[in-house]
Every structure is written in C-alpha cells, then in structure tokens.
C-alpha cells in the first residue's frame, strides 16, 4: 500500500505538472498575444526614440543631411553650460514650476474641499469648473489674447473703470509669468478638482464623525484625518503635474505668437521646452536640442525618484486592495 502510493504519486505529480506546464505556457502565450501591440509600441515608439534621441544628442545632426553628421561626443552637453539663454530658461522653468504646481494643486484641493459637503448646486459648480479643461489650447490662447488685450481689452477696460491705470501689457515681459500661470490655472485646475473631490468622497464619514466625537475641531479633523488619507492622491497629482509643468511649451508659444509659431515668449516664460523647440525647428540644431531633452529627461527622472523616495515619509498608504483578480 505504502509502496504503491509512493509509486503513484510521482506519476500523478508529473502528469499534473505537465498539464500545468502546458497550461501555464498557453497562458503565457495568450498574455503575450494581448500585450503584443503595447510591447511593440513600447519598443518602437518609446524606447527607440529615447535611445535614438540620446545617439542624436552625441552628434551635430541638422535634421537634413546624414553624411555631414559627425560624432561630437558630449560636446552638446558641455555646450549647455555656456548657453546663457538655455541656462536662464532652466532657471525660469524652475521658477514657473515652483509657483504653478503648488498653486494648481492648492486651488484644485481647496475647491474640492468646498464642494465636498451636502449642498445644492454641487453638480453645477463641478461642471462649471471642469468645462475650461475641454476647450482646445489654440482656442484658449485666442480667447486669452482677446481678453487680455492691452488696448481696449475687456480686462484692462474693467480695471480702468474702477481705477485708471492705463494700458497694462499682460502679454509682455512685466506680467508674463502671471499671465501664463493664470492661463494654466484656468485650463487645468478643474481636472485636479474633480480628482480630489472623488478622493474626498472616498473617505468614510465614520472617520470624521468619530474624531468629532473625540472632540476634534474642524481644523484638527482636516489636519489629522482628511489630509493624511488624501496624501496618496496628492502624491500622484504632484508627480504628474511636476513632470507636465516642466515640459510647458504651448501656452507661452501660442500667447506670444500672432500667426503660426513665430513669436518668441518674453524672458520669464521663455521656458526650457521653448528653447528646445527653437533650437531644433528654428535653428536646425537637432543634436543640441536632443541633448537638452536628454538632460531634462534625466533631471525629471531624478526628481520623480526623489519624490518616490520622499513618499515613504509623508504619503499614508492604507491596505492596498486593488487588482482583485490576483
């Protein structure tokens, strides 16, 4: 009996494992079948361009002629150090990011907090704040150019009705930063607000009630209950918005242009990507443009890593229950 059993078990186990193997192999093949489009896309449309961009960044490629293209080593990278305009663009981009990102997150979060209570018209306000995010950027740029027109524009006219200050040139050196930031806030706080609002509504009301019973005031509830529970959402929005804002290109380009992409934004909003765009498409310095892009890529990845590292100190993760199919 005992001998029989030991003789049978390996056979059964082998049969099972063979069937299991073929099944798991089938599973793998099916998995690959479903992932093929994405994997091909990942390789040809993401990895190759990034690596290709790096190779181009080591050359003096001008976008036209490959035979005259020479390997220039890290020349394009050292060139950045002496590129005064580029360095200024880096500083201005940093300023732009440091102002806009906290502002847009705070505004989105603040409006979400205001709308996160039992009240009439919540749906109306949510829709009203979200609508600007739907307007295509070219249309927004036109609207803002009109609205902010220095001569007899509605904003300046309204300001002058209240207090005569004359023409304010919003789309010019002096107010450039404020103008582009307002446009960015106008276009994007609605998305963040909708996301934060959903996050807030996911907080179980019992938690708030319990802390009120324990004698916490409204601020303490916010500080000790709501804010910690919202940190994962804040974190994700912070990462995406930092990376997106660092790549700002179109808002200054479109605001400062009249026809086509000809305009050069004023200094405070002459940002990194504007500089890259001009290097590549105005001056045909593909190699140099690619070098700045790679530098930006590394910078942003380091920034993202830093944020992920910092997240363990301030992002509060509850039990992760996603991925139910596991």
């Amino acid at each position: 009996m005992a001998v029989q059993q030991t003789a049978e078990v390996p056979v059964a186990a082998e049969r099972v494992s063979r069937r299991h193997l073929s099944r798991s192999r089938r599973q793998t093949l099916w998995f690959l079948f479903f992932q093929t489009p994405w994997l091909l896309g990942l390789f040809f449309l993401t990895i190759i361009p990034i690596v290709g961009g790096f190779i181009i960044s080591l050359s003096n490629y001008d976008g036209i002629s490959i035979p005259t293209t020479k390997f220039v080593g890290i020349g394009n990278y050292t060139r950045m150090l002496t590129d005064k305009q580029g360095m200024e663009a880096l500083v201005h981009t940093t300023v732009y990011v440091l102002i806009l990102v906290p502002l847009v997150l705070a505004l989105a979060f603040g409006m979400a907090m205001l709308l996160n209570q039992a009240m009439k018209g919540r749906g109306f306000f949510r829709t009203a704040y979200y609508l600007p995010t739907l307007v295509p950027i070219v249309a927004v740029a036109w609207i803002f150019k009109l609205f902010l027109a220095s001569k007899n524009g509605p904003l300046n006219s309204a300001i002058n009705l209240i207090y005569p200050v004359g023409e304010i040139v919003w789309i010019g050196q002096a107010h450039a930063l404020a103008t582009v930031i307002s446009m960015a806030l106008w276009m994007s706080f609605g998305t963040g607000m909708v996301i934060f609002l959903a996050g807030l509504q996911g907080i179980p009301p019992e938690l708030e009630e319990a802390s009120i019973v324990d004698g916490a005031n409204k601020f303490q509830v916010f500080r000790n209950v709501i804010l910690p529970l919202m940190t994962p959402v804040i974190f994700f929005q912070l990462v995406l918005s930092l990376i997106g804002t660092f790549q700002e290109l179109l808002r200054p380009m479109l605001l400062w242009s009249t026809t086509g992409m000809q305009g050069t934004p004023s200094k405070p909003v002459y940002l990194m990507m504007v500089h890259v765009y001009r290097q590549v498409f105005t001056f045909g310095r593909y190699g140099y443009g690619a070098a700045i892009l790679w530098f930006t890529f590394i910078l942003l990845m380091l920034l993202a890593l830093l944020l992920f590292w910092s997240s363990k100190y301030w992002v509060y993760y509850t039990q992760n229950v996603e991925g139910g199919a596991e």
């Binding site: 798991s24 479903f34 994405w38 896309g41 190759i48 361009p49 990034i50 290709g52 961009g53 181009i56 976008g63 205001l114 709308l115 009240m119 018209g121 949510r126 829709t127 009203a128 979200y130 609508l131 307007v135 295509p136 950027i137 070219v138 249309a139 036109w142 609207i143 803002f144 009109l146 609205f147 027109a149 509605p154 106008w186 998305t191 909708v194 959903a198 996050g199 959402v233 929005q237 990462v239 995406l240 990376i243 660092f246 790549q247 290109l249 479109l254 026809t259 992409m261 890259v276 590549v280 593909y286 443009g289 790679w294 930006t296 942003l300 993202a304 996603e322 991925g323 139910g324 199919a325």
Partner: protein, 290 residues
C-alpha cells in the same frame, strides 16, 4: 415658503454662523464660476461683433447688431469642414485603435496570470511619468526619415501602440469583473480571446466609451503633433485656427477666428454633456490611483 421655514425650524434653530457660512460659500463658488466663465463669454461675444467693433476705442461691451454672418464666413474664408474632417479622422482613428489595444493589454494584466506580470505592470506605471517631449521630438526625427511625416500613419502607429493611462484604466476596470464569468466560459472551452471579445468587451461599454471620448478630446485639441507632422494640405483644425483666418495684409480676422473657435470647441462640449458621468469617472479613475 412658510412650510419650508417650519420644517427647517423643527430640525434645528436658526444658526446665524451657519447661515452666513453658506452665503459666503455660495458667493465664493459663484465668484470662481464667473471668473472661469468670463473669458469664454467674451470669446462668444466677440464672435458676434463686427470686425471694427472688437477693438473699438473705447471698448464696446456688446455688439450693436449680433453678426451671425461671422459663422458663415468661417466656412467661406477657409475650407473649415475639410480640416474638421481631418481632425475627426485622426481623432476617431487614434481613439478607436488605442482603446482596443489598451483594453487588450489591461485585460491581460488583470485576467491572465503569468509570472512577472507585476514587474511588467511597473513598466506601465513608469511610462506614466516619462516626459512626453522626450519622445515627441526624436520620434519626429525618426518618422521624418522614414517618410511618415505628412501622412496620418503616426496616429495609426501611436494608436496601435496603446497608451499607459488607458491600460491602467482598463486593468482597474476589468479587475472588478467576477471570476465566475470567465470560469464558466473556460469550462465551455473558450479561449482568452473569445472571453475578451464575447464577455469582457460587451460588459465594458461605459469604460470603452469613456476612454474613446477622453482620447478623442485630446487628439481633437492637440496642436503640437499636427503642426510638427502634417503639412498645410492635410493638417487639422487646430493648426488652421491658429493661423489661417487672415486678411490679405496678414492681419487676423479676429471675429471670424472666435466664431471658428466656438464651432471648433462645440463638439467637445456636446460630447461632454452627453457622457458627463462617464467622462468624469474616467478622469477620476486614471487620476486617483498611483
């Protein structure tokens, strides 16, 4: 009115702090709404002005006679519909393809168990934060060498390549499907492709629509890609709106541009109101989880 007051009173006595809190809240909310809507309202008003009116000195707040003819000029001065058709073609093609390929990938990530699946999914997460422009400009260089610029092929290829945000969205969505559904089908001998097409897709209509619309909105509004990849002949509304409505001296016909902007934006607004719930849910799902 009286009945209302009584029911309020029976619930709780008049609380002045709460009352003024509410007044303050609504004032603030309306203030922000007005601030948000003013530029749009000004765009619409301008689209109804005469060309001389929009820059009148002093400012003319409203048109004397609404110039609906501006909306006719949109079609006369430029082949608006032709460019709209180009935008529509690109938006529909890209959105359809990317929805299918992203759904496939999301399905595999959530329902097919293979080793190291989680590691591969980490790649999707990492892709979410790869700066867009890092790939856009090198891709342009490569595509132009391959002769793919001035064609719609880039949109088709990008669509076929799926998009990490929507892979994420579909994985999330398919993970919530009951396991029994596919177990039953598997017993009947259905393979994953049949399960995907016959069970998962038909039950995913809302999220498919959401992903389609969000992608549609993105491509329809996109300016950078068409200005880089397409030429005057086959470009989209976004590019034409930026530069095409000019008089013989090269001055922009502002009122016509505003009318064209209204017509250009309107389809997106209509889409939004038709599928508001789904769109917001899609924005939330792809923005909430990290």
């Amino acid at each position: 009115m009286t009945g209302n007051a009584i029911t309020t009173n029976t619930r709780q006595p008049f609380n002045s702090r709460k009352f003024f809190g509410r007044v303050g809240l609504y004032t603030l909310l309306f203030g922000v709404a007005v601030f948000v809507m003013l530029p749009v309202a000004w765009g619409i008003i301008t689209s109804l002005k005469q060309e001389g009116e929009y820059s009148a000195n002093p400012i003319k707040w409203l048109p004397v006679v609404p110039q609906f003819v501006n909306y006719v000029h949109v079609f006369i001065y430029q082949p608006f519909l032709k460019y709209a058709r180009n935008s529509l073609f690109l938006a529909v093609t890209f959105s359809t393809l990317t929805v299918i390929t992203s759904a496939m990938s999301g399905f595999a990530f959530s329902r097919i168990n293979v080793p190291h699946k989680q590691a591969l999914f980490q790649v999707v997460i990492a892709l979410l934060i790869i700066p867009n422009l890092v790939t856009v400009i090198p891709t342009f260089m490569i595509f132009s060498k391959l002769g793919l610029t001035n064609t719609y092929w880039p949109w088709i290829l990008w669509g076929l390549g799926a998009s990490p945000f929507y892979i994420f969205l579909f994985r999330q969505f398919f993970s919530n499907f009951p396991k029994e559904l596919e177990d039953a089908a598997e017993v009947d001998g259905a393979n994953p492709l049949r399960i995907f097409v016959q069970i998962f897709l038909p039950n995913a209509k809302p999220v498919l629509a959401t992903a389609f619309i969000l992608n549609f909105i993105w491509v329809w509004g996109d300016y950078l890609t068409p200005i880089l990849y397409l030429s005057d002949r086959n470009t989209t509304l976004a590019v034409k709106l930026q530069s095409a409505y000019i008089d013989p001296h090269g001055n922009t016909l502002v009122t016509v541009v505003m009318a064209a902007s209204v017509l250009y934006t309107l389809p997106l607004i209509v889409m939004f109101f038709m599928a508001q719930k789904h769109i917001l849910q899609g924005v939330i799902t792809s923005g909430l989880k990290g």
